[in-house]
């Protein structure tokens, strides 16, 4: 699936998007896999309360299942307007 990062999440991880092969059942499981990769991922995902997640461009929660999802996006709380 495609994993996208925005704002300071993108800056901490160092890339805007990547393809990830995963069997993770939920967003939280995927986060665990990413955290274990490298310190920059661990830093970006250190505090989930500071993060939001969207599955296929719809805001959701970290316990949401990943079955059938093509695009996951991680970002900080939004500051539009």
């Amino acid at each position: 699936m495609d994993v996208l990062y925005f704002a300071w999440v993108r800056e901490r991880i160092g890339i805007p998007r990547e393809k990830v092969e995963t069997q993770a059942a939920t967003v939280a499981d995927l986060v665990e896999e990413l955290r274990a990769r490298e310190p920059r991922y661990a830093a970006a995902f250190a505090d989930l309360s500071a993060l939001r997640v969207a599955l296929d461009q719809e805001l959701t929660e970290f316990d949401a299942p990943l079955a059938g999802v093509r695009e996951v996006a991680f970002f900080p709380p939004m500051t539009g307007g």
Binding site: L4, F6, A7, W8, R10, A54, Q57, E58, L59, A73, F75, P76, P77, M78, T79, G80, G81
Partner: protein, 147 residues
Amino acid sequence: MAVRVQEAPFDLGAETERFADAQADMGAVVTFTGIVRDLPGDSLDRMVIEHYPGMTEKALEKIELDARERWSLGDVLIIHRFGPMAANERIMMVATASRHRKDAFEAAEFLMDYLKSRAPFWKKEFTASGAEWVAAKDADEEALTRW
């Protein structure tokens, strides 16, 4: 349905005129405009707004549909910019039309409250002393509970 996400500046006066001109049987038009604020003490060099192409448009269209379910509205216009902009530049605008002013006023406030924390935009402020992402305010999230 009129949602525009663009990098280019927009002409607030011309957009407002065009919007009002198109309202044949509406008695009220409300507009709100968001402007890049300069920073107290530390002059803003520029603000850069990042967004999530695709999701941004969907989120704004959803917010407009939600407003239409709650109030009786004519046209609705949402314009939101991304990319770099200087202090005092217009970031975004919403316009709402209704037969009587209450619907247009309330819908405009609703659109703004939701747009602030449910549309995927992120602001970064650049000053002489560095750059910082603007943090979301708890008050912005709390504002949604009144709807």
